[in-house]
């Protein structure tokens, strides 16, 4: 690799010196070889500066994009992904609104490169000495903070809704949907075939074909956010040809953007045309809607080859090996008012895999912690007497605490050493 590759164009003398410092640190013998050269490029302070600028731009445009998109759509497309196509609209601060997209490195790419840059800088430039201990500690804290963000991407957040006297063994995602085809096998088990909401959303007119599906699924229309209305009152054409969709029509609502002060939950609906695998014959276009799940409406049933499938659009479920049974739910109010004073869920936790079987009371500031998940008392069961528990699993929840503590300690150590050296010099 040519020298222009490592130091393209003229650069300030200080940066050049910094880049070369690793090779010139007393005691470090100048090294040659491709690997060392690559390490030097990775450790370059110029790379650091470029990556910082890219970070600022990504955060700026990501924030601007929330005028049109929801917070989580932006988080997932801008920050928790490798690469993003940024529309011209936020790029030009809404001066130009054309369907033109500019490629840009995503949060994971910039974060990974910054991490490599930092680690390479330590390998090339920094020596493990007491004098540098504060910096090393500080940088270790930053590395941990960045790793924490990667781990946070795998955080699970959802809810568990249980009517009184019933049990639940799954957590529902707040933000992701799935089309579920459910067939009851017996009293104790059911078979589920699931198509992710993101796949429904990215429909391109071609049916979703898979050997596991009992029929092909063509997504006629997917509405990220919707409302329902009586078919005889709604003026838009009704796409459904069978089922409840003949009486109710899904009407598109705008997505909840990041700047929306209400932050209302989006309720998706879809029109799906189910087709026989062998003949391609349509079994009908069904309206499936998360509204039906929320309202506890009986699902649509489709029979193929003698097998009955309940078809529904629902919040994505994560099944657990344990069961939580709600024995009692109490909802105390302040006397003479409707103001809630206390919600409490008396539950029994049963886990056949560990033999766990105990009664637990969940109320404000007294969550249930089990198998890495925390169950907080969140709300009332909207359809009757029961509870809604907020469930959070964040394997990296301690990492921000540790990382900020390390950064603080690193700064204290570093500036402490500097202060001592300064005082010593003055005394001398």
């Amino acid at each position: 690799m040519s020298s222009t590759a490592t130091q393209p164009g003229p650069a300030p003398a200080s940066l050049k010196e910094a880049d070369m410092k690793g090779a010139l640190v007393p005691g470090n013998k100048p090294r040659a070889g491709l690997a060392w050269r690559i390490l030097q490029i990775c450790a370059s302070l110029r790379v650091t500066v470029v990556l910082f600028v890219l970070s600022f731009l990504l955060v700026f445009w990501g924030t601007w994009a929330q005028r049109d998109e929801s917070i989580w759509a932006v988080v997932n497309s801008y920050f928790r992904w490798w690469f993003v196509w940024i529309p011209l609209k936020p790029l030009t601060l809404e001066l130009i609104d054309l369907p033109v997209y500019i490629p840009f490195p995503g949060g994971w790419t910039i974060g990974s490169l910054l991490m490599i840059n930092l680690l390479a800088a330590h390998a090339v430039r920094f020596k493990l000495t007491w004098k540098r201990s504060g910096i090393i500690l500080l940088h270790s804290g930053i590395v941990l903070m960045m790793l924490g963000e990667f781990v946070a991407a795998f955080q699970i957040e959802g809810r568990m809704s249980i009517p009184e006297g019933h049990s639940s063994n799954f957590i529902e995602s707040d933000r992701t949907m799935e089309l579920a085809l459910v067939r009851r096998l017996n009293d104790k088990e059911q078979e589920e075939i699931l198509i992710s909401g993101s796949r429904l959303r990215q429909h391109d007119g071609k049916p979703i074909v898979d050997p596991q599906l009992p029929f092909d699924v063509e997504v006629v229309r997917y509405l990220v956010n919707s409302d329902l209305g009586p078919a005889d009152l709604v003026s838009q054409p009704n796409l459904a040809t069978v089922g409840i969709g003949l009486r109710q029509v899904a009407v598109e609502k705008s997505e909840t953007t990041g700047v929306d002060p209400t932050q209302a939950v989006e309720i998706a609906s879809a029109y799906v045309n189910l087709k026989r695998k062998d003949t391609g014959e349509s079994l009908g276009t069904y309206l499936v809607s998360a509204w039906f799940s929320y309202l506890l409406m009986p699902p649509e049933t489709v029979t193929v080859d003698g097998k009955k499938y309940d078809i529904s659009l629902r919040n994505k479920r994560a099944y657990k090996p344990y069961t939580i049974h709600l024995t009692r739910f109490t909802h105390d109010k302040y006397p003479g008012t409707e103001i809630p004073k206390n919600y409490q869920s008396d539950v029994r936790l049963v886990d056949p895999t560990t033999g766990e079987n105990r009664l637990v009371k969940i109320y404000m500031n007294n969550p249930l912690r089990y198998e890495g998940e925390t169950f907080y008392q969140a709300s009332l069961y909207p359809m009757g007497k029961g509870t809604v528990l907020q469930v959070v699993r964040n394997p990296g929840w301690l990492m921000p605490y540790f990382s900020t503590a390390m950064v603080t300690l690193g700064m204290l150590v570093h500036f402490g050493i500097m202060l001592v050296n300064f005082v010593n010099r003055r005394l001398a």
Partner: protein, 328 residues
């Protein structure tokens, strides 16, 4: 390397990384830990009467009954407006209803308690929203505004006339603050218990006494004990009140306080729940008692009698209580 190519080296992997693969179709078998209640209803105005057809059961039972229920509705014949007739699907058995109920149609075996009720009320009961909300309360659902009920209502033109058909799913408990259903059957008697059970071998079912809804007599030689199941309203008193009543009236023991009660009381696990369980051995009788709270009442399972008979049947008593399954 030329700088332009270097940028390609960066951009191409980034572009590739930017392409998200389709999430795969997932097929899984999962346990079912909760079964809801499903409700089929129909409101059919005819002349001076509003006719109500109602069928409630578990989701599983009802899934098979959707088509037969629709066929049944289509077969209703109002040639005589006060005495409608219909064609019953195979296995359905009709009997004359009691009180306000015109007919009760048993679907499958009687023990399954899967009954279609037919009730006629005057025109004062024609408000659909009110009726559907009353039905919602019966399966543990909150009342809805008229607009929100729309998705649940199906307007059907039956040969007998236009009708509103309702299909709902609910947890099954009676919602708080709701009154008894209009035209509902009388409070369940001993032949229509709201729970299933398995009586241990050797237990003899006898006539109910006082407040009990189910009574057995058990024997150990010439020593006897009696098992009763009683249902009391919400104001059935605290656990301490009941335990002291048992101690005083049955066991012949002095009353105790909360501290002593906390030491004496045990838990009996029944399925996923557990209930307060006491064993009181006094000079008069020995009592085993389980207190089983329900949303609107409390059930008391009790075995009282000679200490030898109670000792011999204690395990059977626990097995009996564990076999009890309320129907939602």
């Amino acid at each position: 390397m030329v700088p332009r190519r270097r940028w390609l080296c960066v951009l191409v992997p980034l572009c590739l990384a930017g392409c998200r693969e389709d999430e795969p179709i997932v097929k899984q078998t999962v346990p079912r830990v909760s079964v809801m209640q499903r409700f089929f209803g129909a409101i059919l105005p005819k002349g001076e009467k509003i006719w109500f057809f109602k069928l409630v059961g578990t989701e599983d039972d009802m899934a098979e009954l959707q088509e037969p229920f629709d066929e049944f509705l289509k077969s209703i014949d109002f040639t005589d407006p006060l005495k409608p007739k219909w064609k019953l699907p195979k296995g359905w058995i009709e009997e004359v209803g009691k009180e306000m109920r015109y007919k009760t149609i048993h679907i499958g075996p009687k023990e399954k308690k899967l009954d279609l009720s037919v009730t006629a009320l005057g025109l004062e009961a024609e408000d659909v929203t009110e009726n559907v909300n009353r039905w919602r309360a019966q399966i543990g659902l909150v009342a809805f505004h008229k607009r929100d009920l729309e998705p649940f209502l199906r307007k059907v033109d039956l040969p007998a006339g236009p009708a509103i058909v309702v299909d709902m799913i609910g947890p099954g408990a009676v919602a708080q603050g709701k009154g008894p259903p209009m035209g509902a059957p009388p409070r369940p008697g001993p032949d229509a218990l709201p729970f299933k059970y398995e009586a241990p071998k050797g237990w003899e079912k006898i006539a109910n006494i006082t407040l009990s809804v189910l009574t057995f007599q058990v024997k150990e030689g010439d020593k006897k004990a009696r098992v009763t199941v009683s249902e009391l309203g919400k104001k059935s008193g605290s656990l301490l009140d009941n335990v002291n009543r048992w101690r005083r009236d049955y066991a012949g023991l002095p009353e105790i306080n909360e501290t002593q009660l906390a030491k004496d009381v045990q838990e009996l696990a029944v399925g996923l729940e557990s209930f307060k369980y006491v064993d009181i051995d006094g000079p008069k009788q020995r009592i085993l008692g389980v207190v089983w709270p329900r949303p609107d009442s409390t059930y008391f399972f009790k075995m009282a009698g000679h200490t030898d008979a109670v000792e011999k049947h204690k395990k059977n008593f626990e097995t009996f209580v564990k076999s009890v399954q309320f129907g939602g």
